[in-house]
């Protein structure tokens, strides 16, 4: 399980290298839309996803380097419920994960999780 996750991450990251310029361009158009989910994802009092994940449209030095960048989410996570489950409790898929269990530990409310997932689905 762990191995496959790590391999997935490697694949993702290598993919990110190739498509990097593309998603940077897309980010500019996306960033114009104000979304509550974005604020939740960026705020260090709330989701604080940026502490670990880079996202399109964020400056590299603002984001942490702990986790893979959140990109092409719709493509990679066609099943929205699965993506939501990852955000709700990352320890279910990977007990060793550094990612805080956003829903399980009530870091975000159910509604806030939906908003964050809506937002990262645009990435």
């Amino acid at each position: 399980m762990r191995k496959s996750i790590s391999l997935l991450m490697v694949a993702l990251v290598m993919g990110a290298g190739v498509t990097g310029s593309v998603w940077a361009a897309e980010a500019k158009t996306e960033a114009k839309k104000e979304m509550p989910g974005q604020a939740l994802a960026f705020s260090n009092k709330k989701g604080n996803c940026l502490a670990c994940h880079a996202m399109p449209g964020t400056k590299a030095e603002m984001a942490g380097s702990i986790a893979p960048p959140l990109i092409a989410m719709k493509l990679r996570w066609p099943d929205r419920a699965k993506l939501r489950a990852q955000v709700w409790d990352a320890t279910a898929a990977n007990p060793q994960t550094s990612m805080p269990p956003m829903g399980k530990h009530e870091i975000l409310s159910e509604e806030e999780i939906d908003q964050v997932v809506d937002f990262i689905y645009t990435l």
Binding site: R2, K3, S6, L7, M9, V10, V13, M14, A16, N44, L50, A51, C52, E61, M62, A63, G64, S65, I66, P68, T91, Q96, S98, P100, P101, H105, E106, I107
Partner: protein, 275 residues
């Protein structure tokens, strides 16, 4: 980035392997872990923490340490250390060698008290034995300033913590358990940040490796905010939204004991700059 994925995998193995070994095995494994994870860092440079991982920060550190803005505070600590008690004795009378090259032996396990004793606790014991009022362990304006000087008397000494006998071993194990225990709303262990993710950035901040973390206290954050090792523990507890333990608690003393053992062989350097 590729390395991160591998390191995360390694970290999982690391945590489970460390969970079964004795202190010296733990220490060797930790060194081996960081050697493969952060190959550019020389062993003796672990005392610089996150600064060892970033050239610019390290050169900022070097220039600040030439004329540290906190020398005045350390001078104050020297006066406290040298000021005679009402009975005419001084702190130096309570420690071997007048307190020189002793800090590396701390924390020590005291078999008669059946618990871990920190340098700070022995300073308080000295005050008590001489009929003086003890300091509050968490008070940076007394204990903090005093140790900002007293620990400089051990600069260059190599950390040399001993774990001998079953009771000492139990305290060590307790500290180790604490280190790997996930806690707080954010569900982090100390190891999540300082073993698994050492060298990674959390937001803009580079996470220091666990190795070397006990060698250089107190620190002056931003060059002015005196912070002791155990008050840093409190800060890290709060960051994960856990209720922090108290400075001087058995929990923190055992944690310091476990962490200090891993630094055996690294040289001490007291009162340094941190960001």
């Amino acid at each position: 980035m590729k390395k991160i994925a591998l390191a995360l995998l390694g970290a999982g193995l690391m945590a489970s392997a460390v969970a079964q070994a004795g202190p010296e095995d733990d220490r060797k494994q930790l060194i081996a872990h960081f050697k493969s994870k952060l190959p550019a860092v020389k062993y003796e440079n672990y005392v610089y923490g996150a600064l060892a991982l970033d050239k610019d920060s390290k050169s900022q550190y070097d220039s600040i340490m030439e004329f540290p803005p906190f020398v005045g505070v350390i001078e104050g600590g020297k006066e406290m250390w040298e000021k005679p008690f009402k009975n005419g004795k001084t702190f130096a009378s309570c420690f071997p060698n007048g307190g020189k090259n002793v800090a590396g032996n701390y924390p020590r396990f005291d078999a008669s008290l059946n618990k871990v004793v920190t340098f700070e606790a022995d300073i308080n014991q000295c005050l008590k034995a001489n009929g003086e009022t003890e300091f509050k362990l968490s008070d940076v304006n007394t204990m903090g300033i005093l140790t900002a000087y007293a620990r400089t008397l051990s600069d260059g000494m190599k950390k040399n913590v001993k774990v001998e006998g079953a009771a000492a071993m139990a305290a060590y194990e307790d500290g180790k358990k604490f280190y790997f225990q996930r806690r707080g709303q954010l569900n982090f262990s100390c190891a999540t940040c300082h073993v698994d993710n050492a060298g990674n950035r959390i937001r803009a901040e580079v996470l220091s490796p666990m190795l070397g973390q006990t060698t250089h206290w107190p620190v002056f954050r931003a060059g002015e905010r005196l912070t002791t090792l155990q008050s840093r523990y409190k800060g890290c507890n709060s960051q994960v939204r856990a209720v922090p333990f108290e400075v001087g608690s058995d929990e923190f003393n055992n944690l310091e004991y476990f962490m200090s053992y891993q630094d055996n062989g690294l040289p001490l350097k007291a009162s340094v700059f941190r960001k």
